[in-house]
Symmetry: C2
Subunit: 228 residues, 2 copies
């Protein structure tokens, strides 16, 4: 009976609103690639046109005017960590979180340390406020940027040492949500010439990640909007 | 046979390093109380002694020098959202996240919007950097504080309207992780006299939360270190 033939599962219509240099979007690109999920990238240029993220069309997608946003089957999720947890729950293989609650908490605390304590302070909207509202000069703004990255990465290096659960990656020998956050943060640190020599653990994990195709595919330089 | 008698499950030794006014610690206190979990509060005074969070004893617990930290059976978890997800996985009732992946993502995006886009910019360590390193005067620092709260709460109010999944609480009619973050953020906004009149949805949810004993018990004014 023809009806008994199972139809092809419909390909979900996955859309990622992204900007090549956004480290939060970069996290989600890594997760999508690790899980081998196809998606359509919609670039939102954070500088051009006074910042396309401020246009009403994009504000309707993301009221914060931040990237990334993720749409699937017409529904939107904002916040990179919420998107990655969603992908992990819908597509469990390969897992981006370990199995036991404490191990999951270990991974989440690393990811959140980057997402809450380092990245928000270096966001373009914050740099713009420092420049335009507080009239902070460029060198001092760069000092601000480097300060928060440096103290954050120092704490992260110390936390990894204390935890004792890292392996080739932040947690054991498989990439997790924590690695999805670490690699973009280190990309950003290099971009602003933060001296990374005092972070041997972070650098070793970064190298292990970037040996994987999924991390390389997600790199800013590989994105369609990179040259624009 | 006496050995067949099941021993009482050992009471976990739960410790929360907290500061009464820390909105991140306040989030975890709400979650612990909603789940009716006993814990021992260890106050870390963020101002006294030049900030007890900077002392080597506490840095050993939390390399970022931030509260809260949570210890259970000799193991430490930092980052309020990682702690709450851990509590929710170990003690599923009452749940602080809904059941379906998309609904979970909706709750997490609200919680992360507060934890990543509002709170980190108003953290005491940031205010101190503005004062001591950038020599920003008090009125301008207050303007900074209010600016990030206001734009963040505006986006949150718009996001709730767009999502259409809020009820008495941020998501439906039971408190979730998102409410654990919203109530402390509004407490903080009131403390710095942010005009909240333009946020009717947030205020209605805040009132519904504060009608519950768990939220009231977790309030800064109810903490043992409140008067110190």
């Amino acid at each position: 009976m023809i009806n008994s033939i199972k139809p092809e599962a419909p390909v979900a219509d996955r859309v990622l609103y992204t900007y090549f240099r956004s480290s939060a979007a970069y996290r989600v690109r890594i997760a999508l690639d690790l899980k081998r999920l196809d998606y359509r990238a919609v670039p939102v240029h954070l500088i051009r046109d006074g910042g396309q993220q401020h246009q009403p069309e994009y504000r309707a997608v993301n009221p914060f005017g931040l990237v990334p946003s993720y749409r699937e089957d017409g529904r939107t999720i904002r916040q990179s960590l919420a998107i990655i947890e969603y992908l992990d729950e819908c597509h469990p293989e390969p897992p981006l979180l370990p199995v036991t609650p404490f191990a999951r908490a270990e991974v989440r605390q690393l990811a959140l340390s980057i997402a809450c304590e380092i990245h928000p302070l270096n966001n373009p909207r914050v740099m713009k406020y420092l420049e335009r509202e507080l009239h902070v000069d460029e060198a001092t703004r760069l000092g601000w940027m480097r300060h928060w990255m440096k103290v954050g990465l120092q704490a992260l290096e110390a936390m990894l040492a204390e935890m004792g659960s890292s392996g080739r990656f932040c947690h054991g020998d498989q990439p997790t949500l924590a690695d999805c956050c670490l690699v973009p943060q280190l990309f950003n640190a290099r971009r602003f010439e933060v001296d990374l020599s005092e972070f041997p653990r972070l650098l070793a994990i970064d190298a292990a990640c970037n040996a994987l195709l999924a991390f390389r595919n997600a790199h800013p330089s590989k994105q369609p909007d990179a040259a624009t």
